[in-house]
Symmetry: D2
């Protein structure tokens, strides 16, 4: 089969012909219909310090996908050939402290398919049955391909009260945009976003934001405070990873508010803990991955009931061979999700 692989420890990737992966007794082999590029894939493609320390080429990468079950292992009991599926690519150990207390998403021994072993930028991928997720018939293949980042957004938004809350989303990259749509679908009142990229600001408005602020030209803190009667927003959803945006986000948060942090800072961040967190009595939540599998249930319900219109995020699917185009578009700061169709056109 064809696979997009990290071949050498350097920038770039290559299409290679490799055998269809063998499956163990508990595994499911999935024919990949749609796969999507994650920000993490950009890091692996670009080969930054983190990738160099974690990824071991040669390896097929990619961890966002949907597809159809092609074959199942001998001990697989629930999943059947022909079913439409996606998957949670984080594999938890099941026995560490976190796994034992209902927090497998922060398992101490987490392995990630597409990072620690061969992923989904290929015609086929193999997944343990425990992590395969049935896609409801009503969910299209390209939506199925972004369950992983949509799960990040849903996990972030629903990590605290959201209905009737005023919300600031700092950063309107792909997950920030999804978070805007999720927050509005879940009853938040005014949703502000701060974003320097004009294209993303206009996309944010299409996703449902009430106001998209350019923090490079507007005093975003003053603006949000004024619009919230001086109090600040009830909820901060941090999606940028940018230290300046993080600081600003905390200044926009009201005392007693909730900040959920998903964006990945590339360096240590200096915070005025006293005024931003302690005196404020703030609740600050680190968000990683998706709750296994509560977030998947939530996504499925929201998508089935038609509450999330994510269409603005998608362009035309690309064949795997045009991978360079996909990575270039994303590296250029283009919002939205790039979809590969490793097995040909989507329906």
């Amino acid at each position: 089969m064809q696979a997009l692989r990290k071949v050498r420890p350097e920038r770039g990737a290559a299409i290679e012909e490799i055998p269809v992966p063998a499956i163990g007794p508990h595994d499911v082999l999935v024919r990949v219909k749609a796969a999507s590029i994650c920000g993490t894939d950009l890091h692996i493609y670009g080969w930054d310090r983190w990738s160099a320390s974690r990824v071991h080429p040669p390896m097929t990468f990619g961890h966002e996908f949907s597809g159809v079950v092609e074959r199942v292992g001998d001990e697989v009991t629930r999943i059947k050939v022909g079913e439409k599926v996606s998957a949670e690519m984080h594999l938890n150990c099941g026995h560490c402290r976190q796994c034992r207390v209902g927090q497998p998403h922060v398992c101490q021994n987490l392995k990630i398919i597409g990072i620690d072993r061969d992923g989904c930028f290929a015609e086929f991928v193999t997944i343990p049955e425990s992590n395969v997720w049935w896609l409801d018939k009503s969910i299209p293949e390209h939506y199925g391909a972004i369950m992983d980042p949509l799960g990040n957004a849903v996990h972030t938004v629903l990590s605290g009260p959201i209905a009737a809350q005023t919300v600031v989303v700092t950063g309107s990259g792909p997950i920030g945009l999804m978070a805007i749509a999720v927050a509005k679908a879940c009853g938040s009142s005014t949703v502000f976003t701060t974003e320097v990229n004009a294209g993303r600001r206009s996309m944010a408005l299409r996703m449902g934001a009430d106001e998209a602020i350019d923090p490079s030209t507007t005093d975003a803190v003053a603006r949000v405070r004024a619009a919230t009667g001086g109090a600040g927003a009830d909820v901060l959803l941090e999606m940028s990873g940018n230290p300046a945006a993080i600081k600003q986000g905390f200044q926009m948060l009201r005392a007693g508010g909730r900040a959920s942090l998903l964006g990945i800072p590339s360096e240590p961040v200096t915070l005025d803990l006293l005024d931003s967190v302690i005196f404020k009595g703030a609740t600050v939540l680190g968000i990683y991955g998706r709750r296994m599998f509560e977030t998947w249930v939530q996504m499925t319900e929201l998508l089935k009931s038609g509450k999330l219109n994510l269409d603005p995020l998608f362009g035309e699917p690309l064949p795997l061979s045009r991978y360079a185009e996909g990575f270039t578009m994303l590296e250029g700061g283009l919002a939205g999700k790039v979809i590969f169709a490793p097995n040909g056109v989507l329906r």
Copy 2:
């Protein structure tokens, strides 16, 4: 001024001319623009056992209203003449155990304006400043008049997780109908309602219910189970007070689900606690009044952001003099809210 009063300990009421109430130093006198009939007012009008034990005629009743501030007491500091307001009519003591631990809505020494002292079915009503609620400019007077029951609905819906949840609302009377709208606005997925009255079922669909089941002709438990993959609904919002509906509601609830009970049973209810609650690991929440004043903040945010269309609930406002008409319509089982305009036409 004119007031609709319970004059004698018997069925009925009468319009009387009484003095405009005097105000104390901490009170606010409000000119009532719109007042609404609560189910409790029906009980007082009809003079049932509960009313006879609690209400002391002669007394002006009514506790749902909006209006404009006419005069304020000497020590009133925030509220100004001319402001548009509604009010929380439950007066808590501030020092009992519940008041001290953040649960003033179940205060041990609660007094209710319109039940324990003169209410709002009159040209003017007087309220302690602490309980007056500013109405946002965007909220129309008739919406302002139903903040009290809307608060019951919002309190019930938001007493647990609601986003991405499947929901059953047992009973589509006025508060059940509002709960449907609130649940959908706050991201619930499929919302079922069970209701024997055909008119209310069709209103439920207009308020956003996905399916309105007539439990007198359909096996509602089987229907909800089938539609939820056999599990049952995640959330039960009990709005009927009907013992049969309560039992059925618990049978429709999935194991691990949440039941919030607002409907008022008129007699003790026999429950199969073992299968309905204990083995199910259910969370059952008694709901009373509105959280003071968290629910008011939530309502305001939901209304301001345009998330709640409650128009189907309202007919033409009546002058106070046509009170008998209003009570008769409601006693006839008509869904919707009857609005009085004690000071003449609404804008």
Copy 3:
């Protein structure tokens, strides 16, 4: 090996010689050092309606035990021969709604070892690796044998806030007694218990209760109200299953309080839902089993740190052959736990 078995569908049981159970690739064979009789075992022994509908003789019963690993299946990776273990005997399916949202303890497809298949009243028992629990070295064998009911108690006590709370435990049977010890260890202030059996009342005091009330001679509701400034207790832990005690328990609960129900009523219960739950704004929690495996972590921490002295619960261990004696003692209403030692004396 020797096993205590339900041989025929009628009252009683018998010791039989049967083969040591075979193990599958994911199973662990445990040599049972200490096993304990549960209330459920009394039902099976006595052969009531519930047992007749659920249990299929011939079968080895018993589901509370500790022991030492004798042999492990080919795919077992963590558990090693010679380790000291107990086990969660509820086997969840892993894929139903409840399993997917973090509530496997109320799985839709739950199977129970010792009820639905051969249990631990034998020299050996076989358990899937996923459900085996390492016992800390500091935990004695007889304590290890009661992790299942202790887990019920811990799950009940810790299902809501307990520190600095006033608590009523209705019923001081074995799990009620453990709940008293757990509540006191976790910072509850005054702990009341209601119990008609004088022996159990005195045991309740030894376990840490501040006051043991005989509801047949004392007005328990008046007593608890008086001792809590008229408010009622913050927390009700219902351990009796007795309809009268349940009603009384709710009357002793303050408005806004929490009631956790574990006791198993043998018939439907008539509750004044209005005054006991709805107007009270109560939180009522059905409690089943133990959280998997959060409760096991909690038990281990509490036992390791020496916070729970459960010694008063235990008498001398019996050999399996003296089973009739054990059942008779418990049927006689004796508080405390009866321990079998199927492989001879405990250390």
Copy 4:
């Protein structure tokens, strides 16, 4: 009366003779029996940048006390002359967003008695009735004088689950020491503290800590990880305000754990948000003041039930005239609370 006052904007204080304060209709005049020096008072005494920006001399400072009611205003209804009281010295506005949603402790318009107006280092202090707290008869005067910092400790410890949790307390100053006692009383399992001062480490052990680590000589992170099976502690209670201790505290926290931050850093803190919070899925809670008045209820219950032995914290009470001695002892890094007795000897 005699009062210890900040007379001029410079280091120091002075005893002055001033009139007994007048009381308004809602106020209570209290004869101060015991008052205690807070860390904040040290700042005011030393006149640092914060004090210079907030405090307006001449002013009586001090905000931790207990006493006896001397006189009450005309509209005071509950509090009676002769009653034993303490008080919450944070005065909330009652109408800002936070006050309206149940978070008055982070009110936007908070005023503090003893900082923004005359406090309790005097023979008498005046307090609005709403903020006066009855002291249970069983609570001695010197315990009553430290309800404010004890409330900080209780608020911090009980801001999340604590029973059966492993805990690290970074910093064993007076509030850290109280937090240790509270955590152990509320069922936490192993409690570690990190503290460079040997005297405080030994006091920490007397207060119930299981292990007091000197982070200047021991690798505290390695030690806590090793003692928790590699996972890290479930809960971090940050009591030092020291940037290095804060960083270390987060490194000792397990993934999915809770960090409650009370210590006041004197400068912005650089945190590795990614590894310490985000990837960890940590819950970080800023803690300010005490919940009004839930924390006061909790303290009262814990003290009444004899769960907290705080005796090691206290030395001999000083007359107000020996104030310089008290401040010098505390500035010298002495752990424990210094108590003044402005009206003569304590019983």
